[in-house]
């Protein structure tokens, strides 16, 4: 809660809105304590007194009633009606939305068609029709305003509920014996509540305005009762001769609606989970670079990552996600990077092209060179040109590369044409061929699918086709086949293998599967807690691992043909990156750990082709 308030008030406009609306609320709630005139007592002799007149701070209206008193009473009424309408609309709309979203199917269809029909009418026309049917009066105006806002809530909440109802925890609740009502109330409602609050905070201002509108037309509050709309309406005839009678309520409406909307937008932003983790600032186009120390000199490798340091600055915490990683590939070479999740594999890969989200990511040291040219800190435009064309990525999550609103064929053709001079039809033919290469069944018809019409495995294959579209020199593949079936995986691996043999494609292949590494990669680097702990030729590392972590990691993965057995699990969990133990990061889980292991940095050492970061390696190198 306090985090929410800090975020909220960091937004100056929201803070201003909060102050203004709070002042207004305090004022109207204390009306009984204030020395005000009776708002409804007329005194025709004192008509149209100017503001700051004796005894009437804001003057009087056409019947000589005290404007200040009418303003405050009217504001109180308008606020009460607007807020009541918002609460009613939110309650009914959300109930409809949750109901439709949870039960789905035909119920959903019928309910939402009804909601659509209501939404098809112009807003104010619908409200007018409802008041016309019910007759004028403040209560009926309230009902009308609530009614026209119900569809908005129903629609929003239904959308959220549909997403939640498909989540596994709802199934789990059913298996735990909960009934539908209980699931709606205890499983779904707490999760949609923040959305309801956001929707309310952004609409209550408009509802106050709408009620005022109806009153202005004489359909809301009836004389002599004052609300902001009826005050404006009554002042209309004297607008030219005595403008203050219109300006006073008009200004109040403006203040209320503005302050509530500013505050509402602030609340929406502060509750947005994307903003909660980082600062309120926009993400940068490329990763922030603040390098300390010297930049390592160029080498003759195709792609070289040199002593890379990437950190995440989250609040006071400083996560060293990549802590001095060096890797290199030559044309036609495939380098495997293996490690558990959180070991820094993805961040290493993303740092190369400045794709780590900033904030919170910062590259604090090292270099990443493509043909000797340092990419770290390179301008966005030059990185963009190299991306896809020279260095392509295949991501773990294919949705990050595919646009949801375009057909996959269009996106592939677009990617091809952005770096090649091809006609539309040629690009399409090439797109179909690429889809065939990655084993999309019936590529000719699938080329016109939208991403959401494909299964996860199929989308991943499209992502791979995108990466191959422009025949890059280097592919950085981050767990590209983890979500795929074995037969498809085998095809993709052999496709990548062909490409590197035929075209000299260099591959950095991130995975946690030793089988894949063994089949595809010439060399392998093992990562733990942001560092490489062992690197060497695949065969040598797998046959006789030198680092205790590598050895135990291999042992705990079941292998086909090994039969039924107990697995040798590694006890404990990987360390937290902002609180690494001194010395070897693996020491808390290592059975060989000695006192020396827990003191001082342990270097990666050994002959050039096989290095290990351990004081007591499993074998001599």
């Amino acid at each position: 809660m306090s985090a929410f308030l800090t975020l909220l008030f960091r937004n100056r406009l929201a803070a201003l809105g909060a102050v203004v609306i709070a002042a207004i609320l305090i004022l109207v709630l204390n009306i009984p304590l204030l020395p005000l005139h009776d708002p409804d007592v007329t005194a025709t002799a004192d008509r149209f007194m100017r503001p700051f007149a004796e005894g009437h701070l804001l003057g009087t209206d056409h019947l000589g009633r005290d404007l200040l008193s009418r303003l405050l009473h009217g504001t109180r009424l308008s606020l009460a009606v607007g807020i009541a309408a918002a609460l009613i609309a939110a309650a009914i709309g959300s109930a409809i939305g949750i109901f439709a979203g949870y039960f789905g199917g035909r119920t959903d269809n019928i309910v939402m068609r009804g909601v659509d029909m209501l939404m098809a009418f112009p807003y104010i026309l619908l409200a007018l029709a409802i008041v016309a049917a019910l007759g004028p009066g403040l209560m009926n105006a309230l009902i009308a305003v609530a009614a026209v806002n119900v569809p908005f809530f129903a629609r929003n909440i239904r959308g959220i509920t549909v997403g939640l109802a498909g989540r596994e925890f709802v199934d789990a609740a059913r298996l735990a014996g909960m009934g539908h009502i209980r699931i709606v109330l205890t499983e779904l409602l707490p999760n949609v509540l923040p959305v309801i609050v956001i929707a309310m905070s952004t609409t209550v201002g408009w509802m106050i305005l709408e009620t005022a509108g109806l009153s202005f037309l004489g359909l809301g509050s009836q004389p002599p009762q004052a609300d902001l709309g009826s005050m404006l309406g009554e002042a209309r005839s004297a607008m030219i001769s005595h403008p203050h009678t219109s300006i006073v309520p008009g200004l109040m409406i403006f203040l209320i609606v503005m302050s509530i909307n500013l505050l509402g937008d602030g609340v929406r932003d502060a509750l947005d989970p994307r903003l909660r983790s980082g600062a309120l600032s926009r993400p940068r186009a490329t990763t922030l670079v603040k390098r300390h120390g010297d930049v390592p000199p160029a080498t003759d490798e195709l792609l070289a990552i040199q002593d890379l340091h990437t950190e995440f600055h989250v609040g006071k915490r400083n996560l060293r996600a990549v802590d001095g990683v060096s890797l290199a590939v030559r044309p036609g070479e495939c380098l495997g990077v293996i490690g558990e999740s959180g070991s820094g594999k993805s961040v290493t890969a993303l740092s190369v092209m400045g794709l780590v989200a900033s904030p919170p990511g910062v590259i604090t040291g090292g270099a990443a060179r493509f043909q000797g040219e340092d990419l770290i800190g390179a301008p966005y435009e030059s990185l963009r040109q190299k991306r896809g064309n020279r260095v392509a990525y295949i991501f773990q999550d294919p949705l990050s590369t595919l646009h949801p609103l375009y057909r996959v064929g269009q996106q592939l053709a677009e990617a091809i044409r952005s770096h090649n001079n091809l006609s539309n039809t040629e690009a399409r033919v090439r797109a179909i061929q690429l889809l065939n290469d990655v084993r999309i069944p019936n590529a000719k018809s699938r080329v016109d699918d939208y991403p959401h019409e494909m299964s996860g495995g199929m989308r991943q294959r499209v992502g791979i086709a995108m990466a191959l579209a422009n025949e890059p020199d280097v592919i950085i593949a981050d767990e590209p086949t983890t979500a795929l079936d074995v037969t498809v995986q085998a095809q993709i691996l052999s496709l990548l293998d062909d490409l590197r043999r035929e075209r000299g494609l260099a591959i950095i292949f991130i995975t946690h599967d030793f089988g894949v590494v063994a089949q595809l990669c010439d060399r392998v680097a093992v990562m733990y807690a942001g560092q490489i702990v062992e690197e060497g030729p695949t065969q040598a590392v797998l046959d006789a691992p030198a680092h205790p972590y590598t050895k135990r990691l291999i042992a705990c993965v079941p292998e086909l043909g090994g039969g039924r057995r107990e697995l040798a699990a590694i006890p404990g969990l990987p360390p937290v990156l902002d609180d690494l133990p001194p010395g070897c990061a693996f020491a808390p889980r290592c059975s060989k750990a000695a006192k020396r292991c827990r003191q001082g940095e342990i270097p990666l050492h050994g002959p050039a082709f096989h290095a290990v970061r351990c004081l007591f390696p499993e074998r001599a190198l």
């Binding site: 079936d485 037969t487 705990c556 039969g563 039924r564």
Partner: protein, 318 residues
């Protein structure tokens, strides 16, 4: 008496009716299948995405109503699709441990639900039972008052297993229980599952796409393809000496240290389309042994040697 007996269980998802004309035939996600699981056994179920694994699992726990067929638990037929009736006999462990926990409920609330709703336990009894279960899955009791986001994947999956145990079921359906976990944690969870099985005399149905994992944990394995059982056999033999060409393809495709990479399949072969299913053997489009007989007549599951069954007109010889 088998712990679980499934006969002619099938599920057809209806398709949307077009504006004019008759409704198209539905998608046959699970074709009529029969198998049984003995008490204390782990039956592995493997197959590629979309082959009907999760549909089968959801029918078994009553989250989905079968189109036809029966499910019997310890000789008792489960008639209606009422999850709370199923819940006491069969429980489910989900693939994604985080998404199977409500982000706004404490772990204690999660654990209490089955005890209260399925077994009507009073508060002190629930407290004791939760302590017992938490001890058996190696979780500390202080976790009970925390929220799901505070846990790592491995811990969250232990909580998921603890919740399934709370219902005191006879059978647990494990739907890809370790696919979302890291390898070092995966081994911890697999060992825990094995331990719980002997301790509580449970029966498992272990669904996965990982051949090595399924081989390491199961007694027998069922191979699914395109919604149908194509082969059943002993875990220690089925991948070493498969009879169905599809099982053979799976075993060859699995990446294994020390085996060189080769494309086990030609490019350009056709995968079966669920909206337009082929007649005859669904694997015929990919099978090097396919003949006209395969393309016209659907092969039936037949005994092939001792405790191995396969559905193929021209089974592999071993």
């Amino acid at each position: 008496m088998p712990a679980l007996k499934v006969e002619h269980l099938a599920k057809t998802y209806p398709q949307k009716r077009p504006l004019f004309g008759a409704a198209p035939p539905g998608v046959r996600a699970v074709r009529p299948m029969s198998f049984q699981v003995e008490t204390g056994e782990t039956l592995g179920v493997v197959g590629e995405s979309g082959c009907g694994k999760s549909t089968l699992a959801r029918m078994l726990v009553g989250l989905l109503e079968p189109t036809e067929g029966t499910i019997e638990v310890e000789g008792k037929a489960l008639g209606t699709a009422d999850p709370s009736e199923f819940g006491k006999l069969i429980q489910y462990v989900f693939q994604d441990p985080q998404s199977s926990l409500n982000p706004r409920k404490t772990i204690r609330q999660v654990m209490e639900a089955p005890l209260k709703r399925l077994h009507g336990m009073a508060k002190p009894a629930r407290k004791r039972r939760i302590a017992e279960i938490f001890a058996s899955v190696n979780l500390r009791e202080e976790f009970l008052d925390r929220y799901p986001h505070e846990f790592s994947g491995g811990q969250a999956q232990r909580i998921g297993i603890a919740r399934a145990l709370a219902a005191s079921p006879r059978i647990i359906i494990l739907d890809e229980p370790v696919s979302a976990l890291d390898v070092s944690v995966q081994a911890q969870v697999l060992n825990l599952l094995a331990d719980l099985k002997t301790r509580f005399g449970l029966t498992y149905l272990f669904i996965t796409h990982d051949l090595a994992v399924v081989e390491a944990v199961s007694e027998r394995i069922v191979v699914l393809y395109f919604g149908a059982v194509v082969e059943i056999g002993r875990a220690d033999r089925i991948f070493a000496s498969p009879r169905h060409p599809y099982t053979g393809l799976l075993a060859e495709s699995a990446p294994v240290v020390g085996r060189s990479l080769k494309a086990p399949e030609q490019k350009g072969i056709e995968l079966p389309d669920p909206l337009n299913p082929p007649s005859g053997c669904a694997f015929a489009g990919r099978c090097p042994r396919a003949t006209d007989l395969c393309r016209t007549r659907e092969p039936e599951l037949k005994q092939m040697g001792e405790d191995q069954l396969a559905a193929c007109h021209y089974p592999l010889e071993n």
